[in-house]
Each structure stands twice: as structure tokens, then as C-alpha cells.
């Protein structure tokens, strides 16, 4: 199977409250870092993933704007919107673009950005629900943490873990975020601290949900055959797959199944010609702990209802069987919606280049990233590998 693209440069901002930076400032910072990392090659196309800048920041048409500010006049500029899967979907589109053109025509830049602190928390919560099916969720008044609360209760009842067992997923995120210079919460957290934080939607506690943060991440892509000329440590995109799923999890045959992830992961593994056992580490989309656990099960790392045991036995820690969210995941690194998918790509690139510092997964050859919108309406799965 032909590899669609290679990564020759990555860059990102720290995730956090960037009071002094606009959505554009953040995107520019991430893009300039990625371009510098790639040795400033000529760029012919720009893809920007963003969930809600029109509402959050009163700024639309980000791709053309960013191209203009980056002095890339004349390039193809495409904005990609798919809720909090926008980042990985923009990266996917960039991969397709590279694959369609082949070598020698210039690099493609993919950027994910979200500036969330321009509005208050209740507005962030409201906008987050706009990516769901308005008919049965948004208009009912339920929120993403509310949906996660239902899933968590169902999971606890069906499979027996306590909520304290489940939040260990967030504990793993925080442990890994400690060594990520761009993480929003680079400190460890104890399960009892999570359990002592305010209830958001019973049983979900505040510290089991991603914080509100701003950030941007970017990657520079080129054709795999020219990557060794442009980079000493190229990372190859072995597969880039996208699948949609039932928006409303109550309508899913199996409420614990994230069908979009299952479909995208299956296609991606097949396209990459690897089995799940070949994957050295995973970056998954953990909206709250229970969603991260369901993702582990959907990827086949554990049987249905057993994912929480994998977490409790610390088998997802770095150095254990299946290193998960090695740079902090949504909880530790942060979850600036449209940027999250590209943060995963940036972090997986660090791992595959051997640049992950104290969090380096020894001998990392293949990494899998999973970014989705809402609770699984759309999943993007990427399989990246160390370049040859």
C-alpha cells in the first residue's frame, strides 16, 4: 500500500490560557515553528482545522487569513471543520493533497487551532454541543459531560468498576503530561484529588474533564519519497482514515461501541499493513476517562468491559504493554478542540523521532492517533511510523 505522506516538521504552542494571543496569533506561532523545524521549504497548500472560531472569536475564513499572514499568498488554503475532530481531519486532507500531487511540488502545511478563552465556560459548553445532533441532544439541554456521565454510570453498572477505578485514566494522562513542555497541566494528580473536585454531572468530577485551553499545533508534509532529502528524521504517514458513526450513542446497537473508531482503525491498520500488536504507543481521544477506556476496548487492546482493568493495572503507562497518551492526552496536555488532533500528530512525531525526552517509548516504531468529534460522530485514525 502506498504511504500517503511524510512529516518533515512539527510545531505547537503550549496549551493554556493565552490571554494575550488571538486565534490567529496562536496559529501563526505553531505554523512558524513547524516550518522552521522543516527547514522552511516552499509551501503550496495550507489546511486549517478549527471547530468554532466564528462563534468563539468572531473570526471566520481562517485558512485564507492564515495564508495571508504567513505570506503564503497564492497557495491553496482550505479550512476544515468537524467539531473537535477538525485537527486530525485537516491533517487527513493534507495527506490526501500530498498523495494526489506526488514529489517535487512543494510542502503542505496542516494546522489545528482553537482559542477557547475568549468566551466564558458556559458558552464553551454550549458551543461544544453544537457539534452534536441538535434534535435529540443539544435541544434537550444535556452537555458533553452530561453524556459522559450517562456513559460512565452505564459502564459502572455493566462491568463493575467504581468511578475511582475509571478516573485512573486521567491519572495516567497527568503522569505523562509532567514531561510535556506544551502541556496545560504538567503535574501529577492523585485519584483522591479528582474524587474531591466538584461534581460536573454526577458522577463526573471536574478534574476528570479536559480544561478549557487555547492552543495550536502544525505539521509540514511532503511526499514520502522526497522526505529523506528534506529531513534527517522523517516520519511516515502509513495510513490516514476517517469514518463517521451514529451521532447519538443512545441509538447505537452497543452503547459502549464507538463505531466510527472501529471502522477507521480497521481501515487504517489494513492500509498500513500492520496489526495492533505492532503499534508501539497510542494517542486516544479521552473526552473523559470513560471515553478513553472505551477507545482502548474499541482498538482491541482489551475485551469489552475490561479496558478499565488495563488502566488499573497500569498497563497503559510508558514502559508497560500499551503506552497510551504518552504526552498527556486530552486531560493532561489539554483539549483545544480543533487543535487536539494535530497535537497528537506532533507528539507522535516526537516519539517516532526519539525526541520525547523522559517520556520516550523505547524503540517506538509505529504510533496510532485517534481524534474524534463529540462522543464518536466522526473518528480520524492515523498510523505513523519512523521513516526509513
Amino acid at each position: 500500500m502506498r504511504e500517503p505522506a511524510a512529516i518533515i516538521g512539527v510545531g505547537c504552542t503550549r496549551v493554556g490560557e493565552h490571554w494575550e494571543s488571538s486565534v490567529l496569533d496562536l496559529a501563526v506561532e505553531a505554523c512558524l515553528r513547524a516550518l522552521e523545524d522543516a527547514g522552511n521549504p516552499p509551501v503550496r497548500a495550507l489546511y486549517v482545522g478549527n471547530a468554532a472560531s466564528e462563534i468563539l472569536n468572531e473570526q471566520g475564513n481562517l485558512a485564507a487569513l492564515l495564508a495571508d499572514v504567513l505570506a503564503l499568498e497564492g497557495v491553496k488554503a482550505v479550512e476544515v471543520r468537524a467539531g473537535d475532530a477538525s485537527g486530525a481531519l485537516a491533517f487527513h486532507q493534507a495527506c490526501l493533497d500530498v498523495a494526489a500531487h506526488g514529489p517535487g511540488e512543494g510542502a503542505v502545511l496542516a494546522c489545528g487551532v482553537e482559542k477557547m478563552t475568549d468566551v466564558l465556560a458556559p458558552e464553551v459548553e454550549r458551543v461544544g454541543m453544537l457539534f452534536e445532533d441538535a434534535r435529540c441532544t443539544f435541544h434537550s439541554g444535556i452537555t458533553i459531560p452530561g453524556l459522559c456521565a450517562l456513559l460512565t454510570r452505564l459502564y459502572m453498572d455493566a462491568f463493575g468498576p467504581s468511578y475511582e477505578d475509571i478516573v485512573l485514566f486521567a491519572v495516567n494522562d497527568h503522569r505523562n503530561a509532567v514531561n510535556n513542555p506544551c502541556a496545560q497541566y504538567p503535574f501529577p494528580i492523585k485519584p483522591e484529588t479528582i474524587m474531591g473536585s466538584p461534581i460536573v454531572a454526577d458522577p463526573i468530577r471536574l478534574f476528570d474533564t479536559p480544561g478549557i485551553g487555547d492552543g495550536a499545533a502544525a505539521a509540514v508534509l511532503c511526499a514520502p519519497e522526497e522526505a529523506p532529502k528534506l529531513s534527517d528524521t522523517p516520519v511516515v504517514v502509513r495510513a490516514s482514515e476517517v469514518a463517521s458513526g451514529r451521532m447519538n450513542f443512545c441509538e447505537r446497537e452497543d452503547m459502549f461501541s464507538i463505531g466510527s473508531l472501529r471502522a477507521a482503525a480497521k481501515r487504517a491498520l489494513e492500509a498500513a499493513g500492520v496489526s495492533i500488536k505492532d503499534v508501539s504507543f497510542f494517542e486516544v481521544h479521552n473526552t473523559t476517562s470513560v471515553v478513553g477506556i472505551l477507545a482502548l476496548e474499541e482498538l482491541g487492546l482489551a475485551e469489552r468491559g475490561e479496558g478499565w482493568r488495563l488502566v488499573k493495572e497500569e498497563r497503559i503507562a510508558i514502559g508497560a504493554d500499551w503506552p497510551v497518551n504518552t504526552m498527556g492526552g486530552l486531560k493532561g496536555r489539554g483539549h483545544p478542540w480543533g487543535a487536539t488532533g494535530l497535537y497528537q500528530i506532533v507528539e507522535a512525531t516526537w516519539q517516532l523521532r526519539g525526541e520525547a525526552g523522559k517520556n520516550q517509548v523505547e524503540g517506538a516504531q509505529v504510533g496510532l492517533t485517534h481524534n474524534m468529534s463529540g462522543l464518536g460522530s466522526l473518528s480520524c485514525v492515523h498510523i505513523l511510523a519512523r521513516g526509513r
Binding site: 490560557e17 490571554w19 478563552t117 466564558l120 465556560a121 474531591g196 466538584p198 461534581i199
Partner: protein
Amino acid sequence: MKPLRPVGIVGYGAYIPVYRIKASEIGRMWGNEGCGLPIVEKAVAGPDEDMTTIAYEAARYALARAGVSPREIGAVYIGSESKPYAVKPSGTIVAEALGAGSHLLAADYEFACKAGTEAFQTCIGLVGSGMVRYAMAIGADTAQGRPADDLEYTAASGGAAFVFGLKSKDTVAYVEGSCSYTTDTADFWRRAGQPYPRHFGRFTGEPAYFRHVITAAKMLMEELGLGPEDFDWVVFHQPNAKFPVKAAKKLGIPKEKLEPGLLVPIIGNTYSASSPLGLAATLDVAKPGDRILMVSYGSGAGSDAFSFIVQDAIEEKRPLAPPVRAFVQRKKYIDYATYVRFRGKLLR
């Protein structure tokens, strides 16, 4: 900034209403059972109290310590964001009640929580220039917090008054210097006609409170050639129990220097009275020769920083009025329903 002629505090007074409501009682009302309450309890004005009666009580005690006839007061400035009248000065009500006579300057200041220290600077300027002999600055509030809003836990009532005169053996502390740091920062506001203020969430922290308080403190230290270690006591504006402690830490000031004036955990955020009450509580314990740093913060936004040097007269004047601690310890607990009645919340 320094006045042309040295100016000091001739007398100071405080007042805190007797009623208290526990933060946990407010939390009980809104389903917040003890997770991250910002303070322990707050002072609540009674049904017969408003900002002017609180200001009057504090002013009376300030005059008692000053040993000055009300007639000698040439200016009364009140800083507050809970003025009983949108149009009609509160300074006139207090001045008339004190018997300050009519040969008088009086006005109200508004600058969110630093309106009280704005009045300090005006009084220091008027006295230092020789335009008036004595001037009184008051910070007083019956602060408003919308039911269920984060601010409801902390928005409290209280007041502190200071009489300024030329530095002499009668001044309890003199002004070594002052400066202000002001920007247009919309972190907290209340539009005309609205009963409750609004705030911009976590924006009120780093880019608002900390930026202004820390910058003003550093500016003052630079102007005076002083470092954090040169101050014996420190008073910062106190919107909650965390912020002033964190600001001190960022400036490298040990928490012990903050403690005498750190009243917010047990009386709440008294807004314009917050840092002035902290200063009064610090004067209650300071010794002659001690240097006090006070930095207020007002949303909108700005900070006023002051350095005061305590003088010998503090020892003889201190007993002439009740210490802040007496008001802190004198308390009656009320439940949420009584709080709603006292603060007229059903009428809003």
C-alpha cells in the same frame, strides 16, 4: 508619587457589620457541598445598614483616633461600588452626619474595589498641597453578588476611614510614597441600572488581579529603591483567600507579613474597604518604625500601591477606638433565607 510636603495618617477607624453567613450555607443553597469554597464566611450588612451608615461608623472611629474636630475636616471622599443613590453623593450624607460643616469638599469615587485608595491619593494630594488641613478618605461597601454566582460567596460588607494631615508627631504613620498602575481591562463590571456585576471568569486572575497588583508593587519599590524584604507588613486587595497569598509568593514575600491584614477568609471581600480594612488591621499590630506595603486592586483595572512608615503616635492613639479584631469577633450567624431578606434580594 510623593506630596510636596510629607503627609501622614492622623487617625483611622474600621467598621464591620455584625451579621455573618458561612460560605458553606451559600454552598448548601446551590448544591456546592464544600468543594473549593473561596472563604469561610462573610460579613453581611443588616436591614438598617447601607454603605453610608457603614462609612459613618468607620469615620466616627477615625475621628476619635485623630483627635480632630469634625469641623476641621476639609474634604470627605468615599470610594464605593454600592452607593445608595446612583445620582446623589454619599460623601455629603456622611459629612453631614459627622457634623463636618459645609465648608467642605465632598465626592464619591468609583473604581471597583480600589475606589477607597483612590480617595487616599486625593486626600494626600489635597493635604500635601496645603489646600486643606485634614482630609478624610473612606472605603466602604455592601458588595453585590448575584445569587448562585461565584461572587455571592465573597461579596461582603464593611468600611474603613482614614484622616490625613501633614506629617507630625500626631500622625500614626506617614506616606513614604505611592504609585498607580492603570489599564483598560474588562475583567469585572456592572452596567448602569443593573443590580449585579458580571465578571469574566478566570480572566480576573492572571491578566487582571496579578498583573496589576504585582506591577504596581514593583513600580513603587523601584521608585523608593526598596525590595520586598524592606517591608515589615504587606496588605493586598483580597477578593478571595488565595489571590493575596499567591501575589505575595510571586513577589517573594513570606505569608506571615500578610497575616494581620488578611481578613477575607473570615469577613469576605469588602470591595472598596478590602485593602483599607487590611491596613487598619495591620496598624492595630504594627510597631513604630515598621514599614507597610499596601496595594489595592480595582477591576477595570488598576492598582494603587502605598508605602507607610509607622510612627510613635500609634501607641497612644490605637486604644482610642475599637481594633478591627473586635468587629471581626463580634458576630451573629444568619441563614440563607435571612440573608435574602436583609439584602433585599427578593425585590431585585
